[in-house]
Amino acid sequence: MTASNHKFWGYRRADGQVGVRNHVLILPTITCATQAARQITELVHGTVSFIHQHGCAQVGVDYEQTFRTYAGMGMNPNVYGVVVLGLGCETHQARSVAQDIARTGKPVEVVSIQDEGGTLMAIAQGAKIAARMVQDASAQLRELCDFSELMIGTECGGSDACSGISANPAVGVVSDRIVDAGGTAILAETTELIGAEHLLAKRAVDDKVSKRVYEVIAAMENRAFHMGVDIRTGNPSPGNIRGGLTTLEEKSLGAANKSGSRPLQELIDYAQRPSRKGLVWMDTPGHDIEQLTGMVAGGAQIVLFTTGRGTPTGSPIAPVIKIATNTPIFQKMSENIDMNAGTIIDGAESITSVGERIFDEIASVASGKLTKAEILKQHDFGIWRIGPTF
C-alpha cells in the first residue's frame, strides 16, 4: 500500500483523532517511577517511556504545566494505550493524569509502586497490563487518512547561518502546504522569535492574537532582564556562533522562516492542544527538547527539525524528521539526519523543490516509514519548568 498526495495510512482513535504510530506508553508521573517504567519497556516489546526529574513538590502554574505535559503525552494520538505509573505520595497523582487521558477513550490503567508493595511487583503488574495492550494494538489496522488530520510541529536546533536560507524556508513551504491541506502547523520557540515578532504579529488573524504575540515575547525577554544577563550568553549558543550566527535577532529572523506565509490563527500555551487548524504558535523556550516535548504533548504527530550543526533529537512517541541545512553536516551525520536541504546552498535544488520532498516524506513517515531518531531509540523528553521545586 502506498500513500498518495494528501493521504496517509494512520490509526484511527476512539475520539476520531489519527495516530501515525501505535505505541503503548509507560508514563511515569514522578521521577521515582521512571526506572521501573524503563524496566517495563525492556520486558515488553512495543512499549515506550521516558526519563525525567519532575512530578513532585511543584505548585501553581508550574504544577499545571507539568501535569498538562504528562496528560498530553498520553493523549497524543500516536499512543494506543497508556500504563500510568506512579509512586503514590507525589503531587502529580497518576490517577488524576489517567483520568484526563481516559477522556480520549483509549485504554488507560494505573499502577502505583506503593500500592503494589514495591518496585518489582509494580514492574510485573505494569508489564502484564502493557503486554495485553500491545497485543490489542497490534491487531489494529491502518486506514487511509487525510492530511487535514495531521498536526506537524516545526523546530530548528543546532542552527547555523544556512538555517535561515535553506532548511527553514523549505519547512516554511511545507507549513503552508499543510495549512492549505486543512491541517495544523505549529511554530514554537518563542525565545528564537525575539526580533522577528513584528513580522508574525502582522500575520495574526485578529488584534487579540497580535497582542498575545507581543505579550509572550515580552515575557520571554523579561526573563533575561530579570537575570541581569545578555541573552547572547546562552542563545545563540557557542555552536550557533561558530556557525556564523551573531545575535539572537539574526537567529530569530532565520527561525521565523519555518512559519511559511499563512495567517497566524492563535497563540497557545506550552503543551496545550490547538483549538484551531492552520498555523498556530506555541509559547515554548528555544531549548530543543523542551520545545519538542511541548509540541508532542500538544498533539503533534510528526515533527520537522532543521539542523545546521547536527543533532540526534527524537521523541518517544512522535517521529522527528531531521533536515540538514548544509550538505557537509548531512554527510557527516547521516546516521542522525533524514533529509538534506543543503542542496539549496549548493545551487542544485530550489526551496520549493526541497519543500515538496519534505511534504512527500511526511506521507511516508505518517504511513509507517521509520525516522533515523526512531531507529536509534532517541527518546528525548524535557518539561519547560516555570517555577521552583519546593
Partner: protein, 101 residues
C-alpha cells in the same frame, strides 16, 4: 568564483557560502545590484562580511531587518560577527539593579 548570498537589497551584509581567503575579490549579487568586494578578513563558511561601510552605533540589516548594532566602524569586506556586533534584545546586562529580583 566564491559563492555568496545576500538576502535583501538594503542589507549591509552578505554571507559566504564557502570559506573565502583574505584579499579575495567577490561579486555579491542581490536583485539587480552587484557589489564587488575585496575581503579584508578570511571569511568562514556561513559567516558574514560587510558589503557597505557600517558606522559605529549603526543598526545592521540582514533579511531586510535589524540583527544588531555595530560596536565599531566596519569597513567594506570586513568580517561582521560577535567581535564588532552586539544584539539589541534580551540585554539584561544593560539594565540597572532596579529590575533584578
Amino acid at each position: 568564483m566564491y559563492k555568496t548570498v545576500m538576502m535583501k537589497p538594503h542589507d549591509h551584509v552578505a554571507i559566504a557560502l564557502a570559506a573565502i581567503p583574505e584579499g579575495a575579490v567577490v561579486h555579491v549579487i542581490c536583485d539587480s545590484q552587484t557589489y564587488t568586494v575585496q575581503l579584508k578578513d578570511g571569511i568562514e563558511f556561513g559567516h558574514k562580511f560587510a558589503v557597505v561601510p557600517i558606522a559605529e552605533g549603526q543598526d545592521i540589516l540582514k533579511y531586510g531587518e535589524v540583527i544588531g548594532v555595530a560596536l565599531s566602524d566596519i569597513e567594506i569586506g570586513s568580517h561582521v560577527h560577535v567581535h564588532n556586533v552586539e544584539g539589541k534584545r534580551g540585554r539584561g546586562d544593560k539594565l540597572g539593579d532596579s529590575v533584578k529580583p
